[in-house]
Assembly symmetry: C2
Homo-oligomer: 280 residues x 2
């Protein structure tokens, strides 16, 4: 099958590598405004040809949008305008309500499948792409009833080929859950990095002392604003809800310490330990 | 060399394994109030014999305290009372000012070396011990001028055997730096777990969706209160300073979102990205 990947970066590149490896993709077109990414993706054999948007959309059975969520939302209606009823479009964005809403009344809506692979790293660009990225992770398909059966089946085949476990979800629900599971972790990580950078002037000491705990907590703070500002923007209400709750929870720790109420502190920690039962 | 490990858990057990592997420890005595930990440590060949405190202190050239920081602070003076001038005591606690202060005027102060290996996991007990844990991590020795030269040399030999890179630091400075590098990460992680547990009632969904980013940010929330309440207690002032700054930083994200000021949001994220230059 010929596949076009719009956005030859971390996510698009990783999907391309795996779909080639599995023999699902016979030829991959890459579309990217960033010429350097196209060159790198060609060199790394992630894509077979770099083409413009129209050519990419016309030539492929499946078109995958793997660009920041604001760009995807803006681009998708035009992509649907260009395709026939035998082509399928899927995205890979971290927010789903916005993009689903943007094409709600589009005559080709049924050719689109809203998808979110629950994987990412703090890196970007085709050089960061890894074929095995998605294995064992959740692949979320949203509002499947709005997609045509053959389009849905094709995307399910792709999700299986990526070795992901498939979850079906309403787009609005997806955005609430990911606010908790993914978006807030990024905000706490950014804020933690800013805390350290603001107050801890001895950078060499940070680097020398940094423990594995710190590195793993702050790792997400390396993630790029081009990807994350649009996510926070599109999921603003949910993210604010969670952020407010998170600040409330932090204030409980502050209060326990200020009042030297160590029984309460222990209670807060014991409650947090319940996450052991959920994240094995 | 005969070594006694007080606290046959994650840290003590990991040190024991490595020191045996390197041929530094010829015999290891284990001292632990938890009978099950002694049995497990014997079975895993982490220790060679389980003994009581007095026996352990009398028989070993080096005594390692690897117990929660409040217990270590309380126990250390009594251990120093029991030893001769040919024996050395080191600890492995995450706060240093308190323990150093507790033995400041002890006649055997110079036989003690204050140590903190910058490694840990959310697990505990001898079953979690790993010989290679410390390799490449920072091993911090505090207030070395208060230790006798031969005692210091012995501990330096141990730190080298653990394959750690050695750092010397004032105990008060250590506690300020670790508030940033380690203690705050645990509080944000606990608070994040409590946020999710408070608001997200669909535990099965959390588990199914949890991405690697979430798991790594929230991993520390599995850490036990027996270890962490005493750390927060002993480093209360520094932790509160950092926690207040962290809440201030989070409020900036909240404000940027509430006011839909996405330029400011981008600025905050771009600033956080500077951590890339520090944590490679």
């Amino acid at each position: 099958m010929k596949i076009s990947i719009i956005g030859a970066g971390l996510i698009g590149g990783s999907m391309a590598l795996k779909l080639k490896e599995k023999g699902i993709a016979s030829f991959i077109y890459g579309i990217d405004n960033n010429k350097q990414h196209i060159d790198e993706a060609l060199e790394l054999k992630i894509i077979d040809a770099g083409v413009d948007l129209e050519q990419g959309v016309k030539n492929a059975e499946l078109i995958i949008l793997a660009i920041p969520v604001d760009a995807a939302r803006k681009l998708l209606p035009g992509v649907l305008d260009l395709i026939s009823d035998h082509q399928t479009v899927m995205d890979a964005g971290s927010t789903k309500a916005g993009i689903v809403h943007a094409v709600k009344d589009h005559p080709k809506r049924s050719r689109f499948v809203a998808f979110h692979p629950m994987w990412g790293t703090e890196n970007n660009g085709p050089k960061s792409a890894i074929a095995e990225s998605f294995a064992g992770k959740a692949g979320v398909i949203c509002n499947k009833e709005e997609s045509a059966e053959d389009a849905l089946n094709l995307v399910e085949k792709i999700v299986n080929a990526l070795d992901m476990h498939m979850i079906y979800m309403d787009a609005e629900d997806h955005d609430i859950h990911t606010a908790y599971i993914s978006h807030i972790s990024h905000i706490t990580s950014y804020a933690l990095a800013n805390t350290v950078l603001e107050k801890e002037r001895e950078e060499e000491t940070i680097f020398q002392l940094a423990s594995s705990g710190f590195s793993s907590t702050v790792r997400l703070a390396k993630s790029h604003p081009e990807m994350w500002v649009p996510i926070f923007k599109q999921n603003k209400e949910n993210v604010l809800d969670v952020l407010n709750e998170h600040i409330t929870q932090l204030r409980k720790f502050k209060s326990a310490l200020e009042k030297e109420n160590y029984e309460y502190l222990e209670e807060l920690i014991t409650n947090a330990n319940r996450i052991r039962g959920i994240l094995r």
